[in-house]
Each structure stands twice: as structure tokens, then as C-alpha cells.
């Protein structure tokens, strides 16, 4: 029991807890006391969240048919430059499928090497070449994601912004439109929309 509660307070609980209403009542009581007593769960490292976010983009963005070379082609998440995610990204996509497509993570050093790719995270290591890289990717149906301050201004589509210790999104809708990407309005709700001239 205590084990169950602590695990639910800590990590995954999906399907872990089953029970009747009695359980519910007891759990509600115990849970309330436990949550109040136990220290707040340690926030996951920044890039683990970002890795999950990268995967989540795949669910809220629609690519034109030309972005894939066939119907079975996997959805590729590319990481350009130094990989800050480590195994987290691979973990985030493992076993997942979006619209029938498998998910693949591809890492590369040079923008020329990215090949067919639908989501591209441009690592902070490429800050100096960022403008060039983005300019080169112009015209490709590819969601660019980064966390550099000027990322949106330079034409990057989604930027991770840290606000109050939370990771927020700022989206350059114009750039995405230009790349023929359809970003779900739902994605725009929790996100900030980039305004040229500001920022």
C-alpha cells in the first residue's frame, strides 16, 4: 500500500492503481496526507522535458504530403549539433507512432546531412551558424525547434523559453506557414506567438 502510494506520488501510475470506491476514499485520504507530507517531486531535467515536447510536436503539427517520400516513411526527429538530450529523446519516442508512422531520431553535425527530416532541433552548439542553417532550411517542410534567444527572429519556428522555471513555447507562425506546416490551434493555446519587431 505504502509502496503503491509512494510510486504514484513519484513516477508512473497508469494502470497501477485499480480498485473500488472504498479504495478511492482511502486513497484520497492517504494521498492527501502523503502529498502534503512528502517533499515536492524533483523536476525532471530540462532536456528530458524538451525531448518529450519534441515528440509532442509531432502530434500537433501536420506536414504536407511532400514532406515524406512515401506513406510508410518514418517521422524523423533530427538533432543538429551537439545532442543535449542523451538517451532521453530516444526514450521519449520509443515505441510511439504518429498517424501510422514510426518515429526515428537522427543526429547529425552538419545541416547538409540532415536528409529527410520533419522535426529538427538545432542545438545551442550551432548558435553561431544559426542564421545560415535556418536560411538553408528555408522552403523545406520541416519544423525547426531551438532554444536560442534570437531563434524566432532568425526564422526559427518553435523556441523553448524558460519562464518561471517552466518551459514555454514561442512560435513563429509566419515561418511555419511559409514551410506549409499546419500547427494545431490547440498547440497555439499554451504557446506564445512570436511577433516580429518585438523580442
Amino acid at each position: 500500500m505504502a509502496l503503491l502510494i509512494s510510486s504514484s506520488a513519484g513516477r508512473s501510475t497508469r494502470g497501477a492503481v485499480r480498485g473500488g470506491r472504498a479504495w478511492l476514499c482511502v486513497l484520497a485520504l492517504l494521498g492527501a496526507t502523503l502529498t502534503a507530507a512528502s517533499p515536492p517531486a524533483a523536476a525532471p531535467p530540462e532536456y528530458r522535458i524538451k525531448a518529450v515536447f519534441l515528440f509532442n510536436f509531432a502530434q500537433f503539427v501536420e506536414w504536407p504530403a511532400g514532406a515524406f517520400h512515401d506513406a510508410q516513411a518514418p517521422l524523423v526527429i533530427g538533432v543538429l549539433g551537439e545532442d543535449p538530450f542523451g538517451a532521453d529523446l530516444d526514450e521519449a519516442v520509443r515505441g510511439e507512432r504518429i498517424g501510422g508512422r514510426a518515429l526515428v531520431v537522427r543526429r547529425c553535425r552538419r545541416v547538409e546531412d540532415i536528409g529527410e527530416c520533419q522535426i529538427l532541433f538545432i542545438s545551442g552548439s550551432e548558435a553561431d551558424r544559426l542564421e545560415k542553417i535556418l536560411a538553408r532550411l528555408q522552403g523545406r517542410s520541416l519544423l525547426t525547434v531551438g532554444d536560442a534567444d534570437n531563434f524566432n527572429r532568425l526564422g526559427g519556428m518553435v523556441r523553448f523559453v524558460t519562464v518561471n522555471n517552466k518551459i514555454r513555447l514561442r512560435i513563429n507562425v509566419e515561418a511555419a506557414k511559409a514551410a506549409e506546416l499546419v500547427i494545431s490551434s490547440k498547440l497555439l493555446r499554451p504557446a506564445m506567438v512570436y511577433n516580429p519587431g518585438k523580442d
Binding site: 497508469r14 485499480r18 492527501a32 515536447f53 502530434q59 500537433f60
Partner: protein
């Protein structure tokens, strides 16, 4: 539906009707409400799940990108839905992510999501909906919704209100309708019950229930009325039978008394008659046969004879009332008007001079119908009865008044058992005295019942009654207090024409000597008879008992010297005069038998004894009567 045993039928019917319609309505309402509630629950679940779906779909991005404020904002939209009391979102790991209302404590939410789906729990509808982005396969979190079911309760209250209204309304309508309709059944029953109560309360069987319809109740009413009719009829018959029985009982009691008194009187009469018979016979015999008697002796003997006649007369009056079954009543043609005149004449002293001396005026009127037919009867008895009636009338008129004696023929009133209706001869003695009340009227015929105190013997009317019985006549008494009294004797007329006999010639000579058998158990009487008859020259064989007499008669027959006639006493121990007469008549039917009687016995139910004897002679026997009888005997050998 419980009824008190005394609940009136109207109320029962009303309760049955109202109860039935109420139950039906209640069931209908219950079914309707249950159906509505069931439907409503299903609808509620569907509505909540749709709402959950919408919210879940909207909150995918907020969960996917970990934006709590956005998620809270989305949940806040639930404000529009009043019945959502709480909602929250759990993230992928099952942690509480956002809640509604935003300021609510965590406590009301399950600490972690449970199985998906919607269910009713603790009076609320709760549900968990997975939050999944359409294109993705990954579950982003879970939405929890909680509806407080207030809508359901609200609807329930509405339904309850409607049901109460409907039931009240229809009960009112049912009440009004059934008040009218139940009368169809209850009215005839109540009418019947009312009649039954009237019958039992007042014992009045003449009331009838009113029939209201031709149905089973109408049939019941008819049957009830028919029953009442029968009861009424039978009641009447019973009453008549009872009255009849009472009258008969009184009659029998009256007769019983008469019988008891008669038995006593007859015993005395018999003894007296027997005792004076020798004295009477010897006195008569001496006076007739001894011409040399001194004038003084003759005078004394005459006095003795007259005294004995008076004794016999007194005794005969005593015996009058017990002779109701007297078989020896000698009936002779009687002219009623002559008897009435004699009775009036004989009583003149009482209503004439005597009453005038006391300053009382009594008027005697005779209204005698001329040309009345002759009846058969005993003259002396009827005369005596009339005298008694007149005496009673005189006694009743202590303050003066009128006595009316009437004779007439009255219309034929068929007597019971008689097929031929003949007119009756009616003799009335009416006075204008104070009359009699019912009690006196009923008892006046009883022996020893008197209203005259010390002066009365209570035998007068009893004797009249005895005479009436013996003559198969009737007596009627019309009397009311203050209206006088009328005593009415009704005699039946004989069949055929009856002529009055010519006056009997007196002074019969003793006839030629006869051989006679004389039987009597009284030795003195036997001896006196023997000597008296022997004095007339007859040859006498005297026997002291019935059997001796029969033996002597048979012996004489066998010896070829039969008796010319037999004179026998009636009342004897063992073998009585009747048997002697029977034996004589069976041996020699032509031999005359004369029966002497002192009226001492009541006879049994023997056949009419007078048909077997040739003449009945009263004690004390008179020499004259004996000679009369013997004069009818045919000469021996002739």
C-alpha cells in the same frame, strides 16, 4: 385495505374505489418516474461523457506542453455547466495537473485517476476520460469530472410534485364520480338494511323494501319482501292458532272445573237420592193403599212426601250442572214461548213486589215471536235455566231498569261439522244493568264464580251452561261495562216436524200382576221397591247385584218362566245396569228393561244407553211413574 367490522357499506365502496384508483395511479406514476429517472441517468452519463470528451480534446496541448495555467483556464469553462461540481486533469504520470474550481482544495479529487468511464458513486456522477491527441497514440493525461446530480434531484422533485398533483386531482375526480356511481349499489342495499332495521325495531312485518332495479339487488329485494310477506302471514296464522289454543285451553279448564265439581255433586246426589227413595216409596204407598189412616197420619205422610219431593228437587238442581255428558237426558218436544211465560211467572216475586218494596222499579218486557217451531229438549232444565238468567238480570238491576225476554228465529249460521244450515231458535234475556267487563264476561260461566259476594253461589250460570251443553245449544254473552248485558241461548231446530204430546192422563190403575226382576245394590231401596210393587200384586224376584240379576234372568228363561220386565238400578259395583240391560236384551230382546238412576255416576264412553233400555226412571222412584212404565209391558203370554 383494512375495514373495521362496522364500517358502513357506502364507506367501504368509496374506499375500494378510491383505493383502487389511487394504487393504479401510484403505480403508473412510479413506473413513469422510474423510466424517466433511468432515461435521465443515461442522458446524464452521455452528456457528461460528451462534455468530458470536449474538455479532454481541448486540453491535450496544455498537458502535452505542461502548461498548467492553460489547463486551468480550459477547466474554468466548466462554469457554464452548473451541475459540474468538480473537475481536474491528471498528467501522464497521474499527478494532479489542474483543477476546477481553481481554488478548491485537493481533497475532493481522487489522488490519482481510476479506471476510465462514468459511474454513479455516493450520490454523484463521476467519470474519467483519457486525454489523447487524435493523431498520436500516446495518452497525455486523464480528465476527471464530477456532477452533483442536482439536475436529477430537481427533476425528481418536479416529478413528485406532478405525481402528487395528478393523484390528488384524480382522487378528487374519482371521489366525485364514485359518490354518484356507488349509489347504484349502495342505495338498494341501504334501503334493504333500513327496511330490515324497521322490521326488527318495530316488529312490523308489513313494511316492504322498495325495489330500485331489476338486477341481483332487485332480486334480493324481491326475495326479502317475499320473506317478509311469509313471516307476516305465518305470524298472523300463529297468532290465530295461539288465540284458538288459549280459548280451547280456557274451555277445557272450564269443563275440567265443572267435571270436578260435578263428580263431587253427583256422588252426594246419588247418596241422597238412594237414601230418600225408600222413604218416598213407602210414604206414597201408604197414602194410596191405607184408606184407614187417621187424618193426622195422612197429613204427616203428605208432609213427609212433600219434604222428600223438595229434597229431590234441590238435589236435582245441584245435579244440573254436572250432567254435561249425561247420556240419559230425556228429550221431549218443547214449546219455547210457553216455557218463557212460565219462567217469567215463576220469578214475578223477585222483579215485581219484592223490588218495589225496596223502591226499585224493574220493568219486565216480553217480545215473543209467534208461531215458533218446537225444539227437542228437557223442559225442566230449560225452564230452570231461564229462571236463573232472569234472577241474574234482576240482581244486576239494583238501581232499577228493564229486563227484556225475547224469542225469535235467527238466520242460519252453519255450525261446525254441520253441512245443512238451519235457522236457530234464539232466547234472549237482556237487562239494562251495569254490564260486565272482559274478565267477568270470560269467567262468568265458571262454577263458584260470582260477583254477588255472600249472596251468590256462583252456580246459576254454570247450570245454564250445563244445560246448553247437554242440548247442543250455544250461549252468547253481549256485554260491556255501562251497556247492559244480553244473554242469548241458541237452540238448533230438530229435523222434520215435531208435534207436542197430548197431556198425559193421571191416575193410572195398577195393572194385572206381572212377574218382575228387580235389581239394586242398595238393600233398603231394593226392599222398598220389592214391597211397593208386591203391594200392586206383582211377583217380584229381587237381586242385590248386577251379576245376580243376570243369573236370575237366565235361570228363569231356562226354567221356562221368563220375567215380564226387568227394573234395574244403573250405578252398581262390578256389573252395572247397562250390562244387565245388555244381557237381558241379548237373551230376550222383547223383554222391557227399566233403568233406575240416582245420577250418581258419570258414564264412560259407552254407547247411548237409552237405546238399550225402554225407559229411564229418576230416583227417588215414584209409584205413579213405575205404574206408567209397567203399563207398557205386554201381558204375559200375549
Amino acid at each position: 385495505m383494512a375495514f373495521n367490522r362496522t364500517t358502513p357499506i357506502q364507506q367501504r365502496l368509496m374506499r375500494i374505489i378510491l383505493g383502487t384508483s389511487g394504487v393504479v395511479l401510484l403505480l403508473t406514476c412510479a413506473a413513469f418516474v422510474s423510466y424517466e429517472l433511468l432515461t435521465f441517468r443515461r442522458t446524464s452519463v452521455r452528456e457528461l461523457s460528451v462534455l468530458g470528451e470536449i474538455i479532454a480534446t481541448n486540453s491535450t496541448a496544455a498537458l502535452a506542453f505542461d502548461n498548467q495555467s492553460d489547463a486551468t483556464e480550459i477547466l474554468a469553462a466548466l462554469r457554464a455547466e452548473r451541475h459540474i461540481s468538480a473537475a481536474c486533469l491528471y498528467d501522464q504520470e497521474g499527478r494532479l495537473f489542474a483543477r476546477y474550481p481553481a481554488d478548491s482544495p485537493e481533497a475532493p479529487f481522487p489522488p490519482a485517476p481510476l479506471a476510465d468511464g462514468y459511474r454513479f458513486a455516493a450520490g454523484r456522477l463521476i467519470g474519467f476520460t483519457p486525454v489523447v491527441q487524435a493523431r498520436g497514440s500516446r495518452r497525455l493525461g486523464t480528465l476527471y469530472l464530477q456532477s452533483d446530480l442536482e439536475a436529477m434531484y430537481e427533476r425528481l422533485r418536479l416529478y413528485a410534485g406532478i405525481a402528487i398533483l395528478v393523484i390528488t386531482g384524480s382522487s378528487l375526480v374519482a371521489y366525485t364520480l364514485s359518490r354518484k356511481l356507488q349509489q347504484q349499489i349502495s342505495r338498494p342495499i341501504l334501503a334493504l338494511a333500513e327496511t330490515a332495521r324497521a322490521v326488527s325495531d318495530r316488529q312490523d312485518y308489513s313494511v316492504r323494501a322498495v325495489k330500485l332495479a331489476e338486477d341481483e339487488l332487485g332480486l334480493l329485494t324481491d326475495a326479502f319482501n317475499h320473506m317478509l310477506g311469509q313471516i307476516e302471514e305465518q305470524n298472523l296464522a300463529l297468532q290465530l292458532a295461539y288465540d284458538d289454543l288459549r280459548q280451547t285451553q280456557q274451555l277445557i279448564m272450564q269443563q275440567e272445573r265443572l267435571r270436578a265439581v260435578g263428580q263431587m255433586a253427583s256422588g252426594i246426589a246419588h247418596d241422597i237420592n238412594n237414601a230418600i227413595s225408600p222413604a218416598s216409596l213407602y210414604a206414597e204407598s201408604l197414602l194410596e193403599r191405607e184408606p184407614d189412616l187417621s187424618p193426622r197420619t195422612r197429613d204427616y205422610l203428605t208432609m213427609i212426601q212433600r219434604s222428600l219431593d223438595d229434597v229431590a228437587q234441590t238435589v236435582s238442581r245441584l245435579r244440573e250442572f254436572y250432567r254435561q255428558r249425561e247420556p240419559l237426558l230425556a228429550l221431549a218436544p218443547v214449546a219455547m214461548n210457553r216455557l218463557v211465560e212460565q219462567a217469567v211467572e215463576l220469578t214475578r216475586a223477585r222483579w215485581g213486589d219484592l223490588s218495589q218494596q225496596r223502591g226499585v222499579m224493574i220493568e219486565m218486557k216480553q217480545e215473543l215471536a209467534p208461531g215458533l217451531p218446537v225444539i227437542l229438549g228437557a223442559e225442566s232444565e230449560i225452564r230452570e235455566a231461564l229462571i236463573n238468567l232472569i234472577f241474574n238480570a234482576v240482581d244486576a238491576l239494583s238501581a232499577g231498569g228493564t229486563i227484556t225476554v225475547r224469542t225469535r228465529l235467527v238466520g242460519h249460521q252453519p255450525a261446525a261439522g254441520s253441512t245443512v244450515a238451519r235457522p236457530l231458535l234464539c232466547v234472549e234475556v237482556a237487562d239494562t244493568g251495569p254490564g260486565m267487563d272482559e274478565e267477568t264476561k270470560r269467567r262468568c260461566l265458571e262454577p263458584f264464580f260470582t260477583t254477588k259476594g255472600e249472596r251468590g253461589t256462583g252456580l246459576g250460570l254454570a247450570m245454564v251452561y250445563g244445560m246448553v251443553q247437554r242440548h247442543h245449544a250455544r250461549i252468547e254473552i253481549d256485554s260491556m261495562p255501562g251497556r247492559g248485558t244480553t244473554m242469548r241461548l241458541l237452540f238448533t231446530l230438530p229435523e222434520g216436524i215435531v208435534e207436542l204430546p197430548a197431556e198425559a192422563g193421571a191416575g193410572l190403575r195398577p195393572r194385572s200382576p206381572l212377574r218382575l226382576l228387580v235389581v239394586d245394590d242398595d238393600p233398603a231401596l231394593l226392599k222398598s221397591l220389592n214391597q211397593t210393587l208386591a203391594g200392586d200384586g206383582h211377583f217380584i224376584v229381587a237381586c242385590g247385584g248386577g251379576q245376580d240379576g243376570i243369573d236370575a234372568f237366565r235361570a228363569a228363561q231356562l226354567a221356562g218362566r221368563p220375567f215380564a220386565a226387568v227394573i234395574t238400578d244403573f250405578g252398581m259395583p262390578q256389573v252395572d245396569g247397562g250390562q244387565v240391560a245388555a244381557a237381558v236384551k241379548s237373551a230376550s230382546p222383547s223383554t222391557p228393561v227399566f233403568l233406575l238412576t240416582g245420577w250418581g255416576q258419570f258414564f264412560g264412553t259407552e254407547e247411548d244407553i237409552s237405546s238399550r233400555v225402554d225407559r229411564v226412571l229418576n230416583k227417588p222412584p215414584k209409584l205413579r211413574e213405575l205404574r206408567e212404565a209397567l203399563a207398557t209391558v205386554p201381558a204375559p203370554g200375549g
